[in-house]
């Protein structure tokens, strides 16, 4: 069933308008269970397929990661890590990387173009490419290093969480294609509950530190991970341990804007007040006479 309410907008980049907020939309989430992932890359293929993306043929970089990084046309990527656990055994950690759809999105906060980045009521953060001006501010705002600037059209791209599919009651293409059920999609509360069962199971199998990755520093995310080692997310190919919007970006996009505008307005007002109080500094006839004398004296 189509669910166009999920296209209602909660937040809009660079806008002073407040979108309507009285309806209580269901929060969606994608849960990626890293412990069930076999690294088959079906999700990558499905993403390319559904979004009509074909990346350039790359080069072998000495790892299973293929392509070697996210690009403007590779919106999701399996990142492989060979990790030696404290018992000295090898663990092959495979994490599907891509946009986390933060509840407090750094990209949206940084974006200067009205409506180029939106957050829907259901929690999906989407780039509206027609409005993208290609400044790359979202890249600086993102705590997860996800958006990629295209050299083809100077626009930035990332995972949409298949907002187009979700709007018509479908799950994202990656979740649809996953053969092991490592990627599941539903309401955020259902996904959190399902993660709880999975974590219990992992703990019963000796993964004491198993847990859910739903980092509070960005207000939680709409893409969550079940990690067997949730105490050290960074071992999963650099997943941030405690992601938050950079303080530099917060200063630039927060306090600085009103303070700068007020400061400049104040400077101009001081000038005006000085004009009113002291008036123009005009050359007087006696200045002119003395000036001419000074010129003539030395002639």
């Amino acid at each position: 069933m189509a669910d166009f309410q999920s296209l209602d907008i909660r937040r809009l980049s660079a806008s002073t308008e407040v979108p309507p907020n009285i309806r209580d939309a269901t929060q969606v989430a994608k849960l990626i269970d890293v412990s069930r992932c076999i690294g088959c890359k079906a999700c990558q293929a499905a993403c390319m397929e559904w979004n009509d993306l074909r990346d350039d043929i790359g080069y072998f970089e000495g790892s299973y990661d293929n392509p070697s990084d996210l690009t403007p046309s590779s919106w999701t990527l399996m990142r492989f890590t060979e990790w030696e656990n404290p018992q000295g055994n090898l663990e092959w950690l495979i994490r599907k990387d891509g946009c986390m759809h933060c509840a407090d999105p750094g990209c949206l906060k940084a974006c200067p173009s009205p409506g180029a980045i939106v957050q829907y009521q259901n929690g999906i953060v989407d780039f509206i490419s027609e409005n993208c001006i290609g400044c790359g501010y979202c890249i600086k705002g993102c705590p997860f290093n996800i958006p990629r600037l295209s050299q083809a059209d100077q626009k930035v791209y990332k995972c949409t969480l298949c907002s187009d599919r979700v709007a018509v009651g479908q799950e994202p293409a990656c979740a649809k294609a996953c053969p092991t059920g490592a990627i599941v999609f539903g309401t955020k509360s259902d996904m959190t509950a399902w993660a709880g069962e999975r974590i219990e199971d992992l703990k019963s199998r000796g993964f004491d530190q198993a847990g859910l990755y739903d980092p509070p520093g960005v207000g939680g995310t709409h893409v969550m991970y079940v990690l067997h080692h949730a105490d050290t997310p960074s071992i999963y190919a650099g997943l941030p341990d405690n992601p938050h919007i950079s303080r530099l970006v917060q200063a630039w996009k927060g306090m600085m804007k009103p303070i700068a505008m007020a400061g400049l307005a104040f400077t101009a007002v001081v000038g005006f007040v000085h004009w009113i109080a002291a008036g123009p500094n005009e050359v007087q006839p006696e200045d002119e006479a003395k000036g001419r004398d000074a010129l003539d004296d030395k002639r």
């Binding site: 002073t16 001006i133 290609g134 200063a251 630039w252 000038g271 004009w275 002291a278 008036g279």
Partner: protein, 209 residues
């Protein structure tokens, strides 16, 4: 051009053209930069053909400004070296602001306020250009880390706000001190203006005649 009697040549034609190219660039930079700085000013991007054009052209204005200002710097730097009289002049700034310059030391080609504007512009333009290169993602994305770009972005916006402030001071001073603007439009100032505001420079100029 024949110089009218009772006037002094202050800026050559080349210096004036140089100044106005720089000025034009600075205004275009401020307008396009502010469009990207605050959502309430995004409408300014319409002046440049929309957001993407604004983003694309802003760094080119900056590149022209850098070259143009460098020439201006070479022209004027020797007149802007700080000396003891400048410190004394700053001490008497209260009188200057009250249009009473008789209580301040005699001024040469530039007063201390003008010198401060000169050096502030120089410093801020260097900061703006260097930080601007770091965030010119179209060409230089791969040369710096994202954290470096964040620092550059914050520095760029801080320096931009500061330079707009300096620009307001510069323009206000030119309008407040009557007879100044024609020095930069027609290249000449009156003997009276020189006597009132730059007496030492007037005497030096008279001797050189």
């Amino acid at each position: 051009m024949r110089q009218p009697p009772g006037t002094l040549a202050r800026y050559t034609t080349a210096a004036r053209i140089n100044h106005w190219i720089t000025a034009g660039c600075l205004i275009l930079l401020a307008l396009s930069g502010m469009a990207l700085f605050h959502p309430s000013l995004f409408f300014l991007s319409s002046l440049f053909g929309g957001g993407a054009y604004t983003r694309a052209i802003h760094p080119w204005f900056g590149s022209v400004l850098l070259i143009s200002f460098a020439l201006l710097f070479i022209r004027f730097v020797r007149h802007n070296l700080w000396n003891r009289d400048d410190t004394r002049w700053m001490g008497a700034i209260r009188h200057v602001l009250a249009n009473d310059e008789e209580h301040a030391p005699e001024v040469g080609r530039y007063n201390a306020g003008q010198k401060l504007v000169f050096w502030a512009m120089t410093l801020l333009i260097l900061v703006l250009f260097a930080s601007g290169l770091v965030i010119w993602d179209t060409y230089f994305f791969g040369y710096t880390t994202i954290e470096q770009k964040r620092i550059a972005q914050l520095l760029h916006s801080l320096a931009a706000v500061a330079i707009i402030g300096v620009w307001i001071v510069h323009v206000y001073a030119a309008l407040w001190v009557r007879g100044s603007v024609q020095g930069m439009t027609r290249g000449v100032v009156s003997a009276g203006w020189s006597w009132r505001h730059h007496r030492k420079w007037l005497r030096e100029s008279a001797q050189r005649r």
